[in-house]
Symmetry: C2
Subunit: 409 residues, 2 copies
């Protein structure tokens, strides 16, 4: 039951010059399921990515890091669902390399020019021969207008595909930013999330791509949580085909750089929020906004304490303004010298807590009214400084338990 | 549905010379419910406590800290359920003080000689007049054999009372250690848990009581988690009435000190584990044992990452050996230079992971067999050193969601 999320309309997903996508049914785990996606990039494209900080990172993540470190021009990405190829040791690493090599051979590039991605069950052997067998069909399907179908092709427990697109004028040219993402559980990206792919035809200096993807991740995928579980496979990749025809962007803080960054942030945030809206079992979309902190880091501590608390999340599920649970989470967030008498709390427009205690003017029915909404903003003011942080999350429902108790069966 | 937990048998709860307990129905939140407990201590008793590290600590916790800091001899404790008196600001503090003063007046001691405790809903006004009105009945009920009824009197969402008792020979005398605890949700004590009370008649130098209660908490209540939510009211109190008649214990590392410590640890661990066994919605009791770490702190990081992961906890609920979720949790626990190729994992006697990958000898049916048990030990070897840590937790079930979505209604 996704929260205010619709399937993307294919016609509104603008093609990015230099990017073609192909989808196939490879039967990685189950038959008759789009589970293999190839993204082909034109010569001259630049690619940067950020990956999970989970020390148990998956084999394909390790191969991606290696290939990006080599510095060769990436020409293709291959993504399978149904199997994460994580917790699979040296054999898993060999299978990830074999996947990249197989696609490289079929498109006529070096293995280092291919990035492999996997998502699905952890600790099972990747059936690489099925992926190899599926590649010709995916390549035959390549098209610039396949963004919507590719979004479907990377889904696992997602109930809807996730895609976003923006166009912006830079140097008199129309620049496109289009992306897809997936994910609904094991979501607390610590660097980026499994999986986000955003492409633009902007002409940007390749050296700027890595700072841009990092900044975009920090403003989007690194600000969402569903269950606090950081995946082994989180990957967020930004592609610039550099075909839009305007003068090269050589600084992110130039007017053109800022215009591009705004478009990339908007696409990344929409994709990240789509993951929360489609969170496993989600019935509410919650924005947690912490203000008045000394540092952004301590605001994040408080925001994540609220966003991860099973007690807070079940109260949202129940539409129960049991707001003391939010205060308790702020209290144990790890801000050592927090003064509870300075805390103010708002639920949307309702002023619930003042000077650390219940606001005398607060009426339960006002809290109840807000809690019944599908979208709720919790705003906590720490009264210590000027820093702030925002995190997006969802509630914890019976369906979350059902989905994760049944996932493999 | 508590996991292998029976109600304590009153006759097996040995009275502690110098301690009497009285229980009453004060109607704090609901009528016809034992919700008020008074514990009276004989002159010469020593008391030490550890309290929640939640910065949003409740008013009674603040009052307890003040009264213990004054150093006056504590002569009585008063505990109410139904209302936590947390998130209640200056008014809540005044009401906690008034509770202590009311009991002090009725037993003829100074207010500073009374410790107040509250547990229940957060952010609601404590009906102190109902507690005052209930005190005479609680005092009329005082008896040395009331430990079992007092355990019932401090329950909230607990389904069973929790009590434990041990006797040990010290200096030719029988020394008794008896205690009670409560708690089923908002359980991730960061210092001690809401609420644990352990009393002994051991003759122990009062200065040793604080290090002993701290050590006991670290070996028991500070090693359990149900939902990762650290309560605003956690309190663990150790009382020594010093009436057992043996020579005074003046060092914890003496033979007598070690004998007493072992008995206190045993009672505290049984009480702490009882809280997990009665965890909200619990169907499994899980021991998470991390070995081979460089430091105890990093072992705890890994243990809590596993014990808090909703994905791991739902897999236990489903009896599904989806063990990659445990590896993922170890990976994101925050051990910066963890080498995944050195990880070994066991589920009871079943060797699941070797060198970071699936053990070739592992068979799914063996994992399945263990996962179906009501008590499971997860053992992870990090391959980095000789430190270890153990944490006790339970699974995450539909009933946890139901209980916490309905708690206030």
């Amino acid at each position: 039951m996704p929260v205010n999320l619709q399937a993307p309309v294919p016609e509104q997903l603008h093609p990015v010059a230099g990017v073609r996508l192909g989808i196939a049914e490879a039967g990685v785990r189950k038959a008759h399921r789009k589970d293999l996606v190839v993204i082909e990039l034109a010569e001259g494209s630049a690619v940067a990515g950020v990956f999970t900080q989970n020390r148990y990172c998956a084999a394909p993540v390790q191969v991606c890091r290696e290939h990006l470190a080599v510095g060769t021009a990436v020409r293709a990405l291959v993504i399978n669902t149904g199997n994460a190829n994580a917790g699979t040791g040296a054999d898993g690493l060999a299978r990830a390399r074999r996947t990249a090599a197989a696609l490289a051979a079929q498109v006529g590039v070096q293995p280092q020019q291919v990035l492999p991605f996997s998502t699905g069950v952890i600790m099972e052997t990747l059936p690489v021969e099925r992926i190899e067998a599926g590649l010709p069909a995916a390549l035959a399907d390549l098209s610039a207008t396949n963004w919507g179908r590719a979004a479907e092709g990377i889904m696992t427990t997602d109930t809807l595909p996730k895609a976003a697109s923006r166009q912006v004028q830079i140097g008199g040219k129309t620049v496109t930013v289009t992306g897809i993402s997936k994910g609904a559980g094991m979501i607390r990206p610590n660097m980026a999330t499994m999986l986000g792919f955003v492409a633009t035809d902007a002409v940007i200096a390749p050296a700027l791509l890595q700072p841009l993807v990092k900044a975009a991740a920090d403003a989007s995928f690194n600000r969402i949580t569903i269950d606090g579980d950081t995946s082994t496979n989180d990957s967020f990749v930004l592609i610039a085909t550099r075909q839009a025809g305007h003068a090269e962007i050589t600084a992110l803080d130039s007017a053109e750089g800022q215009a591009l960054q705004a478009a990339v942030f908007a696409v990344a945030q929409q994709l990240a929020q789509a993951i929360v809206r489609d969170g496993e079992g989600a019935t509410k979309f919650i924005t947690v906004q912490i203000e008045g902190g000394r540092t952004e880091a301590e605001c994040q501590l408080a925001a994540y304490a609220i966003a991860h608390s099973p007690l807070v999340k079940t109260a949202f599920f129940a539409s129960d303004p049991n707001l003391g649970r939010i205060l308790a989470a702020v209290g144990y967030a790890g801000i050592a010298d927090l003064d509870q008498t300075r805390i103010e709390m708002f639920l949307d427009d309702v002023h619930v807590v003042t000077q650390g205690g219940r606001n005398p003017a607060y009426r339960e029915e006002d809290g109840q009214r807000v809690m019944k909404q599908a979208e709720i903003t919790v705003r906590v003011h720490l009264g210590r400084g000027a820093a702030s942080a925002t995190v997006w999350t969802c509630d914890l429902s019976h369906d979350y338990v059902s989905i994760n108790a049944d996932y493999r069966s």
